[in-house]
Amino acid sequence: MSELDLDFMRKVASTPRGRGVLSCIQCGRCSSSCPVARLITQHNPRRLMEMVILGLRSEVLPQGLPWYCLSCFTCLDRCPQGGDVGEVMFAIRNLAVKAGNVPAGVVAQARSLMDTGRVVNPVRSILDKRKSLGLVEIAPTGVDDVQKILKRTALDKLIQSR
């Protein structure tokens, strides 16, 4: 119908981590507890919830809004309604990704995961150090499985497409 479409809230609420948006009473405990919101005005979890409730898909998904959250879960800890704002953030980010909004850093980590089974890999010197200390060898691990899984969830395409 219009911008204030119910479907967006529905979509968020229907994802396993997004249900919490329905509990929101806009009290502002999340926003006043959020370490990021205190630093930058763009980010305000409470307002983001309101925007989802209002159904402002085109304002929420394409821009940076989903990617300021640290998922430190302070909000989730403080929300009186058990709204799990931090969880809803993941739901929103998942939708943002489907809408093609992914920061390069995220893709990089995902690619690393796909290639080596790890998001962080040791540099040469560390590898030598480990050998000299006789610590377990750090090599790519479970790569085949990881790739199979990502193929199955179709995440691989998205990663390669970037």
């Binding site: 806009q26 009290c27 307002r47 302070t74 009186p80 309604q81």
Partner: protein, 430 residues
């Protein structure tokens, strides 16, 4: 046959009203109160909203009427231990805790507590003030007799020696009283949620973070500070005061998903009182939804804003941080209407805790055999049609022990009267 007498449990305003209505109706009433005096929560309040009547001043006459009424027998400092029988015919076992003072002899002159060497925090003053080990909770206490708190008593015998009435009896034993009644009215009231459950607000850690009930005592002329509103940390007069709503109510984490129904209103009232004490004080009320429903409250809130310049901010603060040096309190909040996140510094922060079931509500429910609802309040047999009947015939309930049924004093009084009507019906049927 139906016993023509009634047991009322709880001497708060609701229980008092039920007792008086029944008694003046010609029905014999046993009024059992756990603490040394009747009066309940209303006795602790400074003034009542929205008329700003002095709370104890309008309550005291009713309390005294209870103690004078030929049809009412007061059993204070007593607890109901066992109930048997059924509607029209209950047998009740009441335990009279030893006062270590002869109620008949004591004149309440108070010489004893002038001499008593032991000082302990006074529960009636929310432990902000002190009382002696032999004490009267508050000056208007009914019955006007003292009580020895054996926990803290040194048994030095001073009180015994100074009492002209020879009322002190440290050897007194608990006494069991068996009552036969036709109906029972439960009016045991509520407790307050313990705000230290929410660490981010620092109650218990920060001295200048207090509860609304503590504020009532601080504002009250007969309170621990003689009605002088000061900070507990340094006795300074607070110039910036904040009220925070919904502390533990509307909160799923503690199971108190309900609205306590009275906090928005009494906060507005307290805010106005604070302004009357210190006209130059800045007062902010942080709320989620401003629930000023019912007669005269919207109008009162409007006055609070326009006449007294009290600031209402739609925000539920995330956390409070104390400045260790000044003991001032920085509140992190988002003014959700202005959409700005701020940190304002206050001298005193008043938390408005949820009203929760009494800690002993569950065992009481067992004693009476009545059901409790999901919050732990007593369940009405039908919230709409039988709001003051419990799930057991012949046992009724009124006041806040039924949960936040809009919750304020007139409601408790109406419920008290309503139970009186129900009791009368039951006794007529028999």
């Amino acid at each position: 046959m139906t016993e023509p007498a009634v047991l009322v449990v709880g001497g708060g305003i609701s229980g008092i009203q039920a007792s008086l209505d029944l008694a003046s109706r010609g029905i014999k009433v046993y009024l059992v109160e756990k603490s040394p005096s009747i009066g309940g929560r209303m006795a602790q309040l400074d003034k009542t909203f929205p008329t700003l009547d002095c709370s104890i001043c309008i309550l005291a006459p009713k309390m005294i009427e209870c103690s004078h009424h030929p049809n009412i027998r007061l059993l204070t400092y007593s607890e109901v231990k066992k109930i048997s029988g059924s509607a029209g015919n209950f047998t009740v076992k009441v335990l009279r805790k030893p006062r270590y003072v002869d109620e008949k002899k004591c004149t309440g002159c108070g010489i004893c507590f002038e001499h008593c060497p032991v000082e302990v925090p006074n529960e009636f003053d929310e432990k902000l003030g002190m009382r002696k080990a032999i004490y009267m909770s508050f000056p208007q206490a009914v019955p006007r007799v003292v009580t020895v708190d054996k926990e803290n008593c040194l048994e030095c015998g001073l009180c015994e020696s100074v009492c002209q009435a020879e009322a002190v009896d440290l050897a007194q034993k608990p006494e069991e009283v068996n009552l036969k009644v036709g109906a029972i009215v439960v009016a045991v009231g509520f407790d307050l949620f313990d705000p230290s459950e929410i660490p981010a607000y620092g109650y218990g850690r920060y001295k200048n973070v207090i509860t609304a009930l503590e504020l009532e005592r601080l504002l009250c002329a007969s309170g621990p500070t003689g009605g002088h509103l000061v900070r507990l940390s340094d006795g300074r007069i607070p110039k910036k005061i904040a009220f925070i709503q919904c502390v533990g109510s509307r909160d799923i984490r503690f199971g108190n998903t309900y609205c306590s129904s009275i906090c928005c209103k009494y906060s507005a009232k307290d805010a106005v009182l604070v302004k009357e004490h210190h006209p130059d004080a800045h007062v902010c009320i942080f709320y989620i939804d401003l629930r000023a429903f019912g007669r005269g409250f919207q109008e009162f809130i409007n006055r609070a804003k326009s006449e007294f310049g009290i600031k209402f901010i739609r925000a539920s603060p995330g956390e409070i941080i104390e400045d260790p040096a000044t003991k001032n309190l920085g509140i992190w909040y988002e003014d959700t209407v202005a959409g700005r996140i701020e940190n304002l510094v206050f001298d005193l922060v008043v938390l408005c805790p949820a009203l929760v079931p009494r800690t002993d509500a569950r065992e009481l429910a067992k004693v009476f055999g009545i059901e409790i609802d999901k919050y732990g309040f007593f369940r009405a047999s039908d919230n709409i049609t039988n709001p003051v009947d419990t799930t057991v015939p012949g046992i009724f309930a009124c006041g806040y022990c039924l949960g936040p049924k809009t919750g304020d004093i007139p409601d408790s009084i109406m419920q008290g009267s309503a139970t009186a009507a129900r009791v009368a019906e039951v006794l007529m049927e028999g």
